[in-house]
């Protein structure tokens, strides 16, 4: 089932959680809503689920398979929701938790008890918590509780699965295992899935598409590759991975960054306009010669303990630059602190700004 939200806004008191957000999730896709605290991702998720109502606005719609469900109760939308802190029913066993959605169905829709039992057993096997049916939530570990929460949500065969920071409350190792497991589960079940996370690694690893949000708006929507390698805005770039941001200007068909001149091709580069160069630390090299394609800088810190050698430099106009070098290259250069060198980008994104004068 596809999900589409159009022009959704939500305000809590004086705080704008969402500002006219529109998004479409095709059937069967696994999408991550990624962003920092307060960006609106959980609010959007809860609105899709029916746990919050969007502010009334023109054109505001919530569509499941092109049908408006904005006025439908959460219980009737056919969504499965997994809460960040699981919200397992503490006075029920694992079995009763998972069976809950089936047992509360109105009589004519309720499956017979044997069917319910079979379904619960099937789910218990699917989420790999065999042997724990009779346990209570407080007798389970965090990872086990999370899987019970998932099984419970899946029991009613939702057409949409929504997860709110599903792995947020777990420790790193468990998180990694569950991440991969979720991906495999999705591949098996193929339900349209949307999950919220503030962990970019998680989003990059698990999702088919990532929706990056900030301050109640969608900054970028795209595959992990697109979002990582072609960030649409400064925010996305800063949020995902490390990046160096250089400011320069356009002059005579070239983008000038200090002594670095790059051809400013295509678009409409206006003379006197601004330019930005976004380069990942591992796309930068160090050179001692001024070959006209490097930015002069002074080495401030060297750190060689770790998978790569990390350098911190400061450019002539005071800008901090982060560079990552493979150890072989680092040893080859024999760099010292305070040394003046040239930072040479070997890749990156050049963003040209149009100036309207």
């Amino acid at each position: 089932m596809s999900i589409e939200v159009r022009h959704i806004s939500k305000r809590f008191g004086r705080f704008d959680a969402l500002r006219s957000v529109s998004l479409r999730v095709p059937d069967g896709e696994l999408v991550a809503l990624l962003g920092p605290s307060g960006c609106g991702k959980t609010t959007l998720l809860r609105i899709i689920a029916g746990l919050e109502t969007p502010d009334p606005a023109a054109g505001s719609q919530i569509l499941f398979d092109d049908r408006d469900v904005a006025r439908t109760d959460a219980g009737r939308r056919g969504v499965g929701f997994v809460f960040q802190h699981y919200a397992l029913f503490r006075h029920m066993t694992v079995f009763e938790n998972i069976a809950f959605g089936l047992r509360v169905r109105p009589r004519r829709l309720r499956p017979p008890e044997e069917h319910i039992r079979a379904r619960v057993d099937e789910l218990v096997r699917l989420v790999q918590i065999e042997g724990m049916d009779r346990r209570f939530p407080d007798q389970l570990s965090g990872g086990q509780r999370q899987r019970v929460a998932l099984a419970r949500a899946l029991a009613v065969e939702p057409r949409v699965l929504l997860l709110d920071e599903p792995f947020g409350a777990l420790d790193a190792k468990v998180r990694q295992d569950l991440r991969r497991w979720l991906r495999r589960l999705h591949d098996e079940i193929r339900a349209t899935t949307v999950f919220v996370t503030h962990d970019q690694e998680e989003a990059l690893e698990v999702a088919d598409r990532i929706v990056v949000m900030n301050h109640g708006r969608i900054e970028q929507e795209g595959t992990p590759d697109e979002v990582f390698h072609s960030p649409a805005s400064e925010f996305v770039m800063q949020f995902i991975g490390n990046v160096n941001l250089f400011h320069g200007r356009i002059d005579a068909g070239k983008a000038i960054f200090g002594s670095l001149a790059l051809p400013a091709s295509a678009a409409q580069p206006t003379a006197g306009g601004g330019a930005r160069l976004l380069v990942r630390p591992h796309d930068l090299d160090i050179s001692r010669q001024d070959t006209g394609n490097g930015i002069p800088a002074r080495i401030v810190r060297l750190q060689s303990a770790g998978p790569v050698a990390k350098l911190e430099l400061e450019s002539d106009d005071g800008q901090p630059i982060k560079v990552e070098l493979p150890h072989s290259r680092f040893r080859e250069l024999e760099l010292t602190n305070d040394e003046r060198v040239f930072v040479v980008p070997s890749g990156g994104r050049l963003v040209l700004e149009d100036y309207a004068i």
């Binding site: 809590f12 008191g13 004086r14 746990l51 919050e52 109502t53 959460a74």
Partner: protein, 282 residues
């Protein structure tokens, strides 16, 4: 930023707000607010002059003095002994501690009339304790002293149950720190522990006091109920009712309510003040 819409209720996915709030307000309105409204209305039926005459009548004033005096004395006794009891229950371990702890709530569980007659029989001149006190010249039954004793019984749990959590929360580390700085136990108590629980003690005192002001059942047997001498204010209200002096009864009731609310207000202010101070120093 845009206009802020006035919201009477923050939206929630949970159902049942209208039903539950509506029912609660209806219930409260009919059972609590409507009856209570009769008091000021009835009292307002009198002119100011009449009102003043009723309230300041000698018999009434005598009852105020008695009620306030005995309630205060009882609250003080409870503050002192209640503190000791709370301290003992929280800090020491001894056989029967749990039993004693549960027992503290007896005045909450016991009907006031029952405690009333029990206390009277004990402190009467030929009662278990009365017969010891009589030769010493101490008359307990049918005197203000008896009233104070009954009120002490009633108010005890208030102090203990308010001070216990506060003592519970005193950080043992603070006491350790004081000890390492050279304070002896008394100094530690006096300068570190006691100030920390003083607000709770005052709250407990005020609650016991407020309760004692309005108490009827446990007092009316042991008091003797002689007008001008051992007649408490709540009894005076009943007397006026029996004389069909509804307005007078309402007037005195208003005085009592005003006193209770004043005390409750004082408690709230005190709690607010303490919360502010703690926020400032934490």
């Amino acid at each position: 930023m845009g206009t802020m819409r006035l919201r009477l209720k923050h939206q929630s996915p949970l159902p049942g707000f209208g039903l539950t709030l509506g029912y609660s307000l209806l219930y409260l309105g009919l059972i609590v607010l409507l009856p209570l409204a009769t008091l000021p209305v009835r009292a307002a039926g009198m002119s100011w002059r009449e009102l003043w005459e009723v309230i300041s009548d000698a018999r009434a004033v005598a009852s105020y003095k008695l009620t306030l005096g005995t309630a205060f004395a009882a609250a003080v006794a409870n503050a002192v002994f209640g503190f000791v009891v709370a301290w003992t229950l929280v800090r020491y371990r001894f056989p029967g501690r749990r039993l004693l702890d549960a027992f503290v709530d007896l005045p909450f569980a016991m009907p006031t009339a029952i405690s009333g007659i029990a206390l009277t029989s004990i402190y009467a001149p030929n009662g278990w304790l009365g017969r010891w006190l009589e030769p010493l010249g101490v008359k307990a039954a049918f005197t203000p002293l008896g009233i104070a004793v009954a009120l002490t019984f009633i108010g005890l749990p208030f102090v203990v149950r308010t001070v216990q959590p506060a003592l519970q929360e005193v950080d043992l580390e603070l006491e350790d720190a004081a000890a390492t700085l050279g304070a002896n136990r008394w100094q530690t108590f006096h300068r570190v522990i006691f100030p920390a629980v003083l607000p709770a003690l005052i709250t407990g005192f005020a609650l016991a006091f407020a309760r004692a002001l309005g108490e009827y059942g446990s007092v009316v047997f042991i008091a003797g109920n002689m007008p001008m001498k051992t007649e408490i204010t709540s009894l005076l209200i009943i007397v006026k009712l029996e004389q069909y002096d509804y307005a007078g009864a309402a007037a005195i009731a208003c005085v009592m309510l005003a006193a209770s609310f004043a005390i409750l207000l004082a408690i709230n202010l005190l709690q607010w003040y303490v919360a502010r101070r703690h926020r400032g120093t934490s």
